[in-house]
Amino acid sequence: MNALELRNVTKKFASAAMPAVNDVSLTLRPGEILALVGPSGCGKTTTLRMIAGLERPDSGSLHIKGQVVASREYFTPPEQRGVGMVFQDHALFPHLTVFENVKFGLKGQPAAIARETTQGMLKLVGLENFGERYPHQLSGGERQRVALARALAPRPVLVLMDEPFSSLDADLRHEVREQVRGILKAMSATAVFVTHDQEEALFMGDRLAVFQSGRLEQVGVPEEIFHDSATRFVAEFMGDSDFLPGVVKENGIETELGLIPQKINLPIDSTVEIALRSDDVNFDQANPANALVLARFFRGAYYQYRLRLSSGKLIHAFKPHTKTIQPGTSVHAYLSAGHDLTVFQNGVSVGE
């Protein structure tokens, strides 16, 4: 049975012209972490809030463990859904101690068991000695873990996380997210996680759901999203792709960088776009030159170069940092992917 299912869920706010979430369908298996990712305003947070019961969908239905929790006829309020939520600002209750915060969701359980569970949760997040403190006495990372412990303590069927790391500093963020993923996996929790950071989504999610303008663009495991993007938007958003125009020929795709010998099921002379990442492109100083080095960016282990092709199209290429090439140099650029490239027609991926 699916832990969570969304069927054709749509939500439009009165103040907006376009639906915030438009006909989204999703499923989530028990124990899975799903990352909802997309630029701000894409509908990912609204989707999460509908799952929590903080928003009501206009149409479509939501099911948790096979039970309908929101549809045209039914609406289960958040307190009856058995979900745990970690908020962007953590939303720890400032008038309660860390211990009381974590225990807050254990109402109705015998006091001794609630205490024990709370202590266990604090131990799990490494804060067993912090129970008597108040939220304002904690660091950002500690607050984050209290918020997680509080959400997990009632053993929710579903853990929802709304950009939980966005309030943390960059170096702390990497540390905390690794801990959080570890804790979620240790508890075999089913989780939905919202982020606008593609790298974080790739790290946290067992699967990713990429949103744009209220629509679900693609759902898949990280590798699939990254290497086999379903749409031009996903390729661009998830992996900083450049797009090289091409024309389908009998034995491949004709592009400015030569013929790509890649079979494609399209009529001859169709125009397409090929997604190129920096590691798919190389260049040397051989003749004939077909590109100009515009800029060089130091990336630590390698350089990234920005090239302008004769047509004016900009592409990027990685090169080892052992040799530097000055901007203004004319070079010969070529493809060095070694694998099939993703090809788009009208923004949608066209496989072989």
Binding site: A52, P78, A151
Partner: protein
């Protein structure tokens, strides 16, 4: 300091009908007296309108507006100057001055007026007598009576509104704003005029409009100094000639003016927030006064002296005099069946009850307007704040008319006085409750809901515990202003129900200043307590 950078999310599920019903009842409670006065004004009869239009209204309108404009201007000038000097310069003793400049809020303007009147009265005043004994002949001194005196006294005791609001605005202004202006080639003074003051305009204007509303409502001072405004004219119609139709007509005109000002003030409320502190905030550096240090110091001292020290010292001296004289003391402790203890307890319980009721009534209105912001809920919230614009005399008139006709069992009970306090001062409670709720992130409630609490449980277990300080502040404000309230209490109180404010007024208007002093001093001290607590919450006193 952490500030939410996202607006509260609009809740999409429906407004709770229970909450809407409760808030609607509060709005109705406010609406009835206001609507009734309008109704009576319009149906006041053609001949009353004609008579008043020919005789009274234009003169009163001129008097009232002239006083309102003058005092608002004066209070703005004094208030902004004082807040600039204490917040932004190296004025000596500014930490102490900051408190002393706010404390006149504990002194009702009519008590200040009484003190200044006895000092400056043309014949027999303390200062003219002193001058005469020094120089051997009468020296003409400015009279505190009439327009000049009323404007002077009201400016002196109302400038703290502007002072506090502009002080908070000065304080919250980020240093980077002025630094940016400096990098564009403006010097300190150009920056003050071109950047700082314009940026503070919403805060300053909000304070100025509060002053204007207070001037419209002021009764004690203008009556004492014999300057006729709408408020004092209505009072006379009501208490002396007993012409309720005329009083209703005058009230209708007065409310229209006040509502226009209140409308401007409510519109500014939102904008006044644009000076809010964010996490990047740094205090602006203080400007060195250099050769202006002594004049500036003397100026602030003069303001503090006349608005705080003179009234308190004079009242203290008179009090000592009264307590040392057995006959005076006896007449203070007992007049008729009433003892001094009665005045105190009457003042305290009526004001405290009003504070509790006002805060309770403000809760559904504030919850509704903060958590479900839309046109309807905003309208309800603003409507409930209309009490700001209804002077005490008008509220008294309206309650007299309604209670006489429909609720005779309430007539001449202290409860009607409490009701007037609640109606008039509830806006302060609503604002405090709203601002307390606004500081509470909506995610706090959502967290409680996802942790298994219903919306009602969430209110009691999460929201209320967190907004208690804000509610107490609202209650403190209502208590403070009710304690000082004079005209509605005078008109509505049952025989024998004297509060401290009423007693001070009666003694003083009979010329027994010495007798009035202990009660006046006690009133000021009782107000100073809650005021201190309220000021401690303000940014500039942290």
């Amino acid at each position: 300091m952490q500030i939410r950078n996202t607006l509260p999310q609009l809740r999409s599920y429906n407004i709770s009908p229970r909450l809407l019903f409760a808030a609607g009842l509060v709005a109705l409670f406010v609406a009835i007296p206001l609507g009734y006065i309008f109704f009576r004004a319009i149906t006041g009869g053609e001949e009353v309108w004609l008579r008043l239009l020919q005789t009274r209204i234009w003169k009163l309108l001129g008097n009232t507006l002239l006083l309102a404009v003058t005092v608002t201007g004066g209070a703005t000038l004094v208030g902004v100057t004082m807040s600039f000097l204490t917040e932004r310069t190296d004025l000596p003793g500014r930490n102490l001055f900051r408190w002393m400049l706010a404390m006149p809020l504990a002194i009702p303007a009519y008590i200040g007026g009484i003190v200044h009147l006895t000092l400056l009265r043309p014949r027999g005043g303390f200062i003219p007598q002193l001058l005469e004994s020094w120089f051997g002949l009468p020296i003409p001194t400015p009279s505190p009576l009439g327009f000049g005196g009323a404007a002077f006294i009201l400016t002196l005791f109302m400038f703290p509104y502007v002072y506090l609001l502009s002080g908070a605005a000065f304080r919250s202004l980020n240093a980077s704003l002025e630094e940016a202006s400096r990098t564009f080639g403006r010097n300190n003074w150009q920056t003050l005029w071109e950047v700082t003051l314009p940026a503070l305009r919403p805060g300053i204007t909000a304070g100025a409009l509060l002053v204007a509303l207070d001037v419209l409502a002021e009764y004690g001072t203008v009556a004492l100094l014999r300057y006729e405004t709408f408020s004092s004219a209505i009072f006379v119609q009501l208490s002396g000639r007993y012409d309720r139709s005329a009083a209703a007509v005058l009230s209708g005109v007065l409310i229209v003016i006040a509502v226009i000002i209140l409308w401007g003030e409510l519109r500014l409320q939102g904008q006044a927030r644009f000076t809010q502190m964010d996490s990047q905030w740094r205090p602006a550096p203080t400007l060195p006064l250099k050769k202006w240090k002594v004049p500036a110091f003397l100026l602030v001292l003069l303001v503090v002296f006349s608005s705080l020290l003179v009234p308190v010292i004079v009242l203290a001296a008179w009090s000592v005099q009264a307590l040392l004289d057995p006959a005076t003391l006896a007449s203070i402790m007992r007049s008729g069946s009433q003892t001094f203890g009665n005045y105190i307890t009457n003042s305290l319980w009526a004001s405290a009850l009003a504070a509790v009721i006002a805060v309770l009534l403000s809760l559904p209105v504030a919850l509704l307007s903060v958590r479900y912001p839309n046109k309807l809920t905003q309208a309800i919230s603003r409507f409930c704040q209309v009490g700001y614009a209804i002077p005490g005399v008008v509220i008294a008139l309206s309650l007299v008319l309604i209670v006489n006709r429909y609720l005779p069992f309430l007539y001449a009970t202290p409860l009607i006085v409490v009701m007037a306090y609640v109606l008039r001062h509830m806006p302060q409670a609503i604002r405090s409750s709203e601002s307390a709720l606004n500081q509470l992130s909506p995610s706090m409630e959502e967290a409680s809901r996802t942790l298994g609490r219903t919306s009602i449980q969430t209110i009691f277990q999460v929201i209320l515990p967190l907004i208690v300080p804000g509610l107490l502040a609202g209650a403190g404000l209502v208590f403070l202003t009710s304690l000082k309230e004079l005209p509605a209490t005078l008109l509505l109180r049952p025989a024998g129900f004297d509060t401290l404010a009423v007693r001070v007024w009666i003694w003083a208007s009979e010329g027994f200043y010495i007798q009035a002093a202990p009660a006046a001093l006690l009133l000021i001290l009782a107000s100073a307590g809650p005021l201190y607590f309220l000021l401690r919450r303000e940014q500039i006193f942290r």
